[in-house]
C-alpha cells in the first residue's frame, strides 16, 4: 500500500504543477479612437519575468511607448490598443504589455 500512496501523491503533485502552468490573466486593456486611415500598423511588446510575482520596479512598461514612437518617427500613432497581461508558470510570472496602433504622417 505504501508505494501506491507515494505514487498517487507524486501524480497529484504533477497534476497540480500542470494546472499551474499557463495560467493567463488580463490585468488591464485600453483602446483609443480608431482612425480612418489604417494602412500602417505598428506594434510593440515588452515583458518582465518575476519570481513569485515579486518585482521592484514597473519601469519596463515605459519601453512599450518608446518602441512605438521609434517605429513611427515624426508621425502620429492613433487607435492604440494596449493590453497588460500576466502568465503564470508555477513559481514564475511573465508580465507582458502589448501595444498596437496605426501610424500616419502628420498634418504639416
Amino acid at each position: 500500500m505504501k508505494p501506491m500512496n507515494d505514487k498517487i501523491k507524486f501524480f497529484m503533485a504533477i497534476l497540480i504543477v500542470i494546472v499551474q502552468i499557463g495560467c493567463a490573466s488580463m490585468d488591464s486593456v485600453s483602446i483609443t479612437q480608431i482612425p480612418k486611415e489604417r494602412n500602417n500598423v505598428v506594434e510593440s511588446k515588452v515583458n518582465t519575468w518575476r519570481f513569485l510575482g515579486i518585482g521592484f520596479s514597473n519601469d519596463f512598461v515605459l519601453e512599450a511607448q518608446s518602441d512605438l514612437m521609434k517605429k513611427c518617427p515624426q508621425g502620429n500613432i492613433t487607435g492604440i490598443i494596449t493590453t497588460y497581461e500576466s502568465y503564470w508558470y508555477f513559481l514564475l510570472v511573465n508580465k507582458v504589455v502589448k501595444a498596437k496602433g496605426y501610424c500616419s504622417e502628420g498634418s504639416k
Binding site: D27, S28, S30, T32, Q33, G53, I54, G55, F56, S57, N58, V61, L62, A64, Q65, L68, M69, C72, P73, Q74, G75, N76, I77, T78, G79, I80, T82, Y84, K95, V97, A99, G101, E105, G106, S107, K108
Partner: protein
Amino acid sequence: MKLILLSALFSLAIMGCANLYKYQMSDIIQSEGKLTPIDLKVSALGFDIEEAASVAKLATRTKAGKDKINDIKNIISLFQFGPKTGKPTFSDDYADRLYSDLVKNCPSRQLTGIQILREQADYPVVSGEIVRVLAYCIEPTPETTTAETHQELEEKQIHETNE
C-alpha cells in the same frame, strides 16, 4: 547565523515590492512640435488589515487579547469589500489633482502620449498606492505656428469673399 538570516529577511521585507495593476496609453502625436516629457506621481498610504492584525497579535501574549484583535479585524474587514486594486486607503480622491498638475506643467496645454500607471509600492503593513502619469507636452515649432497662421488667414479671406 540566526541573526544574519533574520537581518537578511528584514532587509528584504523593508526593501519593498512593486506591483503594477493597470496600464493605459493614449494617442501619440509627434508631428505638431517638440515633445517635452512630464512625469507626475500621486500616492496615498494603503492599510492592510490582515498584516496589521498579525503584527498586533505578536505583541499580545494572552489568548483573550488575540481574540479581541481578531474581532476588531473582522469588523473592519466588513467595511472593505468589493473589487479594488491595492490595499484600502483612507480617501480615494488623492488622484483628483493630477489633471490640474498636468496642465500646470505644460505651458502650451497640448498634451500627448499620456501613460497612466496604477501601481503599488509594497511595505509591511502599509503600502504606497500610486497613480503615475507620464505625458509629453507639445511645444509648437515656428513652422507649425506659421502653418496655422497661414491656414487662419486663408479661412479669413474665404469668409470675407463669401460675405
